[in-house]
């Protein structure tokens, strides 16, 4: 065995392991809360005896296990059968219950679309669908990356769509979903979920976009965890004397047209829509359509995932590669100014 040091060995970058493929989106040292969805459901269950939870073999991976442990008698395991999951939720809603059904966003949108559309949405039933791994929140590759769920669901009549940013957003969205009469699709962040919005004067309201910080050069309209990235980016842009406003828009459908039009119409600001979704059919195109239809035509840019099946790998790498890391957001905005 040689003890000689190989002089010409290439410098190895630290290799991100598989855990980074499935890790939560929280950055190192970031404040988080564990399982805000499951915790909020348990809290809600105290006042809603009609609340039941269902999943398709993904209780542990959608934080529904917290509810299942607290209320085993109100939990239904439907097996790895997403079409059945949605139809059974419809049946329970028909009998007067308030079902929260969970799976991954890819399976709800791609596999169970017809069942959500016909058994739930067409009937305007009170089913709440909470789906983990929205957009690029796993490095498992296209089988698990729901980069198209908003595009798929936005065209479904009667369906309310929300894309919360952090643990606080999720905790507040859960009772709001329950209070809403009709089907709701929520993009779910699971596990140790970042907590950022508690530093802002913010409360989740269904159908409302909220200004988290004002600015004069750029207006970033964002949803989901991209609001967190937008807030981080805005702080960095401050250092370069770029003043960025962040308008958090957690309800994708129906859009808060009034607030978006009002803010986008203010002169002198570049409007950037930032989303954890394909550039096709998500928040960006929803906002663009809204603005054009109303004659509001600011300079407009999109930060979104490309129209492509994305790579597998470690999340931090992929977020940077596809332009949705904080550094990439800053880089893009500076390039546009």
């Amino acid at each position: 065995m040689s003890t000689a040091t190989p002089a010409a060995a290439p410098v190895k970058k630290p290799r991100l392991t598989t855990s980074a493929m499935i890790a939560s989106i929280a950055g190192e040292g970031q404040r988080t809360k564990a399982a805000p969805f499951g915790t909020a459901l348990v809290e809600l269950a105290k006042t809603r005896p009609d609340l039941v939870g269902l999943t398709a073999d993904l209780a542990k991976y959608t934080d529904l296990h917290v509810f299942a442990q607290a209320h085993p008698d109100r939990f239904y395991q439907m097996g790895m059968a997403e079409q059945l999951l949605m139809a059974a939720a419809a049946g329970l809603a028909r009998e007067g219950f308030l079902p929260f059904a969970t799976t991954y966003a890819v399976f709800a949108s791609r596999r169970a679309y017809d069942f959500i559309c016909m058994a739930i949405a067409e009937e305007k039933l009170n089913v709440k669908i909470a789906c983990a791994l929205p957009g690029l929140t796993t490095g498992y590759g296209p089988s698990h990356q729901a980069t198209d769920d908003l595009a798929i669901f936005r065209a479904m009549p009667n369906l309310t769509i929300i894309d919360p940013c952090d643990a606080l957003d999720i905790e507040q969205a859960v009772p709001a979903m329950a209070a809403h009469d009709g089907p709701v699709y929520m993009r779910l962040l699971r596990g140790n979920v970042p907590l950022v919005l508690d530093e802002y004067d913010y409360t989740f309201e269904l159908g409302k976009a909220k200004m988290l910080r004002d600015g004069t050069d750029v207006l970033i309209i964002s949803s989901g965890f991209m609001t967190m990235r937008a807030l981080e980016a805005a702080k960095e842009l401050d250092g370069d004397r770029v003043s960025a406003a962040v308008l958090h828009c957690p309800t994708i459908k129906p859009l808060d047209a009034e607030t978006i039009l009002r803010e986008a119409a203010k002169p002198g600001r570049l409007v950037v829509v930032a989303e954890n979704h394909s550039a096709i059919g998500g928040l960006g195109e929803a906002v663009a359509g809204l603005l054009l239809r109303n004659g509001v035509t600011p300079a407009f840019r999109q930060i979104a995932l490309p129209d492509a099946f994305l790579d597998a790998g470690a999340l931090p790498t992929l977020h940077d590669r596809y332009g949705i890391s904080t550094a990439a957001v800053v880089r893009q905005i500076k390039g546009w100014l």
């Binding site: 139809a87 059974a88 939720a89 419809a90 049946g91 329970l92 028909r94 009998e95 058994a119």
Partner: protein
């Protein structure tokens, strides 16, 4: 005044089930004539099962279709709506004069069955293969409510092609849904031709037994056999869900339509409707 509650006991009417089935067929034919075409053969085939369901088995209040204590009857096969409308008219849930509106603008009786349109229509079927899965959810819900109501779901042999039907079959047994009764209309005819040629699903009894269901197979046009099967399904003491496989004949009761080889969607000439009604009447007299 006490509300009329049908089924689940001695019949409140002397009208025979055969007479009910005849009237359901007749009403379906009259509705078909409004549009000149339709899923008439299926309606004629399933009329006996509907007669037994609505006039022997189901608990309901004609004047209160949403009565909480009712048994649920789910029509998964949306295009069989014409048959169910005929049964709902016969049961007094839908007024008879509405049959003239079948499939017309602003009618409560659209060509494919939808819950929001029609009193007594429990679900929106039509996208095939969803009904039994919705039935699973309703059966779970009724159990949660400690309700004694039963969920009957009518689906077709064609819907056995759909994976979700089997997801529901697995699940119903797993959740011991003894309040769920599946009724399969096996008429061996799908859009592209005979079911067994489109996608073989036999042996059906062995499959449903293996999936954990209390399974019976009967001639779906034999009213006594269907009645006995539904009684046995209701009385069965076990915790298994129940299924009744009903072999039916497309266009049953109208021989010249029965004889048509491709009768999934029948186009009937204007003068043939009267002939069909006459043939139905002739068969009834000979019965």
């Amino acid at each position: 005044m006490e509300t009329d509650v049908k089924g689940a006991g001695p019949l409140l009417s002397n009208t025979s089930l055969a007479e009910r089935a005849y009237r359901i067929r007749r009403t379906a034919l009259r509705m078909g004539a409004v549009q000149g075409q339709g899923y008439i053969a299926q309606a004629l085939g399933i009329a006996d099962v509907l007669a037994v369901s609505y006039f022997h088995a189901l608990r309901y209040r004609p004047d209160d279709p949403h009565w909480e204590g009712r048994d649920r009857f789910l029509l998964s096969i949306g295009h069989y709506a014409i048959a169910l409308y005929a049964a709902l008219i016969e049961a007094g849930i839908v007024p008879e004069d509405e049959l003239e509106t079948y499939g017309c603008d602003d009618s409560r009786l659209p060509m494919s069955g939808m819950a929001a349109y029609t009193p007594g229509m429990e679900i929106t079927g039509g996208s095939l293969g969803q009904g039994l899965a919705v039935g699973v959810g309703m059966a779970l819900g009724l159990k949660r409510k400690k309700s004694s109501s039963l969920v009957y779901t009518l689906f077709s042999d064609g819907e056995l092609d759909e994976g979700a039907t089997w997801e529901a079959a697995l699940s119903a047994a797993h959740h011991t849904l003894d309040n769920l009764i599946g009724i399969i209309d096996v008429n061996n005819m799908q859009a592209d031709g005979p079911s067994m040629g489109v996608l073989s699903s036999e042996p059906l009894v062995a499959k449903w037994e293996a999936f954990g269901w209390f399974t019976q197979r009967v001639d779906g046009n034999d009213i006594d056999a269907v009645t006995a099967a539904i009684d046995a399904a209701r009385a069965h003491g076990g915790s298994r869900p129940r299924v009744i496989i009903c072999d039916t004949k497309m266009a049953k009761g109208v021989p010249f339509l029965e004889a048509r080889e491709r009768n999934h969607f029948l186009r009937v000439e204007a003068d043939e409707w009267a002939k069909a009604l006459d043939a139905l009447d002739a068969g009834r007299q000979h019965a």
